[in-house]
Amino acid sequence: MLKMGRSRALLAVLAASAAGTASAVSASASRAAGKPTLIVYSAQGYDKAVVQAFIKATGIPTKLDDNSTGPLLTQIEASKNNPNWGLLWVDGDTAFAGLDQQHLLLRGYEPMVNWTPLAKSLLPKDKSYTPTGLTAMAAVVYDSTKVSSPPSTWQQLLSPKWKGAVGMNDPSQSGPTYPFIAGMMNYLGGVAKGKQYFAKLKANGLVVNPTNGPTLQALTSGQIKLALVQSSAGVGAALGDKSLRVKYLSPATLLPGCIGIDAKAPKAEQQEAERFIQFVLSKAGQRAMQSGDPTGDSLYYPVIRGIAPLKGLPPLSSVKTQRLNPYAWGGREAAINSWFDSSIK
């Protein structure tokens, strides 16, 4: 019995090793045959649905590395002398600008689609990445049974009325929060003025939670009255809890979900990646995006004409939006996050 047990374990180990080697060999073989497996690195809640729909529509073998944005970028940076990814799909264009500045993204590709004017303003000049949807950062979420007159400007958050009542995410843990902080700095006239604003917000009792989930939890449990979170998270929470409302303050910073292609991937894989992007922005792709995570990331504003956002999303037209220059603000992320970590949190 014991000998058999050991033999089986050994066989299983060998099988696992063989599986690993086999997958490595098969990947190499398929690359050599001109039909590489497309590797998609994604942090989007609807990515599984889109990848399945893409495989079904095109037959292109596709594998998904579904992770948070942080680990995906860590993987890309750690493996940049021998990258393994084909596509990166996450929220926020500052990271893409950073990758582009390191020459890690394929330039010059733009899908053939009918962009909305807002989306057109987000396209990078060198066409190194493609926006696939928009969210706003930050949306103000509040409980309408407890708050009858929510604030209408960012400055009002500093008033005694909201002392100890405002909560936001930590940029070192929540990817979409840096664009919000940078957006406020951009709106207020620079980094120094932005820092002053957040220092005043802190003096007024700002509560910092790690990510959207805990900030919304602090709101529903009554610890805070106003939650500054990503619009998709706020609207998703409001769909589940009918007393919650979502409001945008002017200006709302646009946070595009973007896709970029690995500059070092084999040509055939890059072509498959281009087909993937084209598919994502097709009607079938948009259907998959909107059905994949209906109470989370699917609550985005489409970037192509003729596609309506899901019900429950407040219209963006009622509020002034701003677009951050990702190339200017991307390089400041580490320094501003460190400042937030030491001075505001």
Binding site: A12, I39, G45, D65, S68, N84, P210, A218
Partner: protein
């Protein structure tokens, strides 16, 4: 008593005979295996760790900076918030390690040497404490004592409790509790191997019950020191508590600072590597103390003449006292995290109200997308645990032999590897095994199941070895020699002479690795094969995409499954192992 015996360990007592001399000209099987063992260690632990650590001084080698040599990042670690965080990590880990031994030792003694009822239950509960990811108890504590938490909702307005738990004291408490099972397992396996004769000798010479414990405790010093060292290293490398309870308390620990260095964009690997250097160096403290305490002594007490333990009969009062203390420990260690996880999984609206729903469990159990990662992780856990226990036993044998440069190096390497945070370990794996030169010769290991399992095994091996070293140090060479003298080959001699005595520690070590791998996150996140996510990645995916209830329900299901595996394995051992194997250390 053989405490001052010149025999330094199991493998050094047999002098080479004529046959051995005749073989000197060609490499022996043992020599080849030993060489293979060292090669495996160098490849799976040293190479990836070095690859990452070299980054601290030579970022350009891995395209992570412009300098081929710089001390800029190393010196930077000793300033500002980073220095404070590292200092916090060191003292917190030292106290947590002491708590682990202070609680683990008496519990191990009670279950190994007395007739306290429910001993099996205690062991099972210890396993449960061990297999909980460290963020779960932290989350439970936060939900319990935060300003709008359960404590206040039920009318207990105790701000000083909130202040204490959401601060350094709470961090030390949670990490200390986490260390208890390590100490318990290491010490109870060592106690199982220590025959009755030592206590009898002490009692015959007039020692009281407490006095006899004082006399025999030094005999299991290797296990106690191992428990303390591993507790320190585990605490210093922990990220779950650093990112939850310590974060909420605004009490920064080294691993969190390291995480922010990697999680920023662009990530600063050289800064993270410099901090990892410091964490690795810090394990020199417990190792140095351990070496100083154990120098020149032998702890080989388990032989063919070891007497079966006679369990001490406890009176009603002692039983009540023992169970009250142990019950309180488990209430804190298991009750709080269970509350955190289960309450989170039963609430459908971000935990804001107390309206309960089983919708999250229904979703988890009815979706193949949610179930497949659980099955995958079960498979990964079984393979990894089997490989790791084999390697861990060999490593433990090396460590208990006479101290040479090689064993000292092995000792440091294994403990230093415990102190390296998993995220660093995984990044090191990418850098070491994703080199362009490997791809050019057709070896693409990065993001394959094979490399993931190797990394799991490498990260588990140090802890596994530490758990086994206490028991292996008790084995006398005479056990194997006796079988060899009677004509048994090396394998048969091991099976007849050693396996009966080591079966229980090996089973425990297997379970320890299995449970650790089953819910492991940082390595899984960076190395998993695309489209084949392990359960921890799937849970994290739900948590980060606002599906908090679904993620916590999946965690509860996963923990329940892991516990079921523990129960099945221990049950199978009880049913299938020969009676003699189970009687070692079982007592009468």
């Amino acid at each position: 008593m053989s405490l001052s015996s010149p025999s330094a360990g199991a493998g050094s007592a047999v002098l080479p005979g004529p046959r051995s001399r005749a073989r000197l000209g060609r490499p022996s099987l043992g020599g080849v295996l030993q060489l293979g063992f060292w090669a495996v260690l160098l490849l799976i632990i040293l190479l990836p760790c070095l690859a990452f650590l070299v980054l601290a001084v030579s970022p350009r080698l891995f395209e992570q900076g412009s300098s081929y040599f710089t001390l800029h990042y190393i010196t930077g670690v000793f300033t500002g918030q980073t220095a404070v965080a590292i200092g916090n990590s060191l003292w917190v880990s030292a106290v947590a390690s002491m708590i682990g031994v202070a609680v683990g030792f008496p519990v191990a003694w009670l279950t190994s040497r007395t007739d306290l009822p429910g001993r099996g239950l205690i062991t099972a509960a210890m396993w449960l404490v061990l297999l909980l990811p460290s963020w779960l108890p932290s989350l439970g504590w936060v939900r319990l004592v935060q300003l709008d938490g359960v404590m206040y909702r039920v009318g207990l307005h105790l701000p000083f409790v909130t202040h204490a738990v959401l601060g350094p004291a709470g961090v030390v408490l949670v990490l200390g509790i986490r260390n208890v099972p390590f100490a318990y397992l290491a010490i109870s396996t060592a106690l199982a191997g220590m025959g009755q004769e030592f206590e009898d000798a002490a009692r015959v010479h007039g020692a009281s019950r407490l006095g006899s414990i004082r006399v025999v405790a030094p005999i299991i010093a290797p296990a106690i020191w191992s428990a303390a060292a591993i507790g320190f290293a585990e605490a210093v490398s922990d990220f779950g508590v650093a990112a939850t309870l310590a974060y909420q308390a605004n009490f920064q620990l080294g691993t969190y600072q390291l995480y922010t260095a990697i999680n920023n964009f662009p990530p600063s690997f050289p800064v993270a590597a410099s901090m990892a250097w410091l964490l690795v160096a810090s394990v020199g403290i417990p190792l140095g103390l351990q070496a100083r305490a154990l120098r020149g002594r032998s702890y080989a007490v388990l032989s063919g003449r070891s007497r079966q333990v006679v369990r001490r009969r406890l009176g009603v009062r002692s039983r009540l006292l023992g169970w009250s203390a142990i019950g309180l420990f488990f209430l804190v260690a298991l009750g709080v995290p269970a509350f955190g996880a289960i309450s989170g999984s039963l609430l459908a609206d971000y935990g804001g109200s107390f309206s309960l729903s089983t919708a999250n469990y229904s979703a988890v159990l009815s979706s193949s997308v949610l179930v497949a990662p659980v099955i995958r992780s079960l498979f990964y856990g079984v393979i990894t645990a089997t490989v790791t226990v084999a390697l861990g036993y060999v490593a433990a044998r090396h460590l208990t032999r006479s101290r040479t440069r090689a064993t000292r190096f092995l000792d440091f390497l294994l403990l230093a590897a415990v102190a390296i945070p998993s995220v660093i370990f995984a990044a090191g794996y990418i850098m070491a095994y994703n080199l362009p030169i490997l791809s050019r010769v057709g070896i693409d290991l990065y993001q394959t199941v094979g490399l993931l399992i190797i990394a799991y095994a490498a990260s588990s091996l140090p802890t596994n070895t530490r758990i086994l070293v206490g028991s292996v140090s008790q084995l006398q060479a005479s056990l194997r020699d006796a079988a060899r003298v009677h004509g048994a080959g090396p394998v048969r001699a091991w099976l007849r002479g050693i396996a009966p005595l080591m079966s229980r520690p090996l089973i425990y070590a297997w379970l320890l690795t299995f449970t650790a791998v089953f819910l492991e996150l940082p390595i899984s996140q960076l190395l998993y094969a695309p489209s084949q996510p392990p359960v921890s990645v799937a849970i994290e995916d739900n948590l980060s995409n606002y599906h908090f209830g679904l993620g916590t329900a999946q965690s509860v299901v996963a923990v329940a499954l892991a516990l079921a595996v523990v129960v099945c394995v221990l049950g199978a051992y009880r049913l299938l192992a020969p009676r003699g194997w189970r009687q070692v250390g079982a007592g009468r």
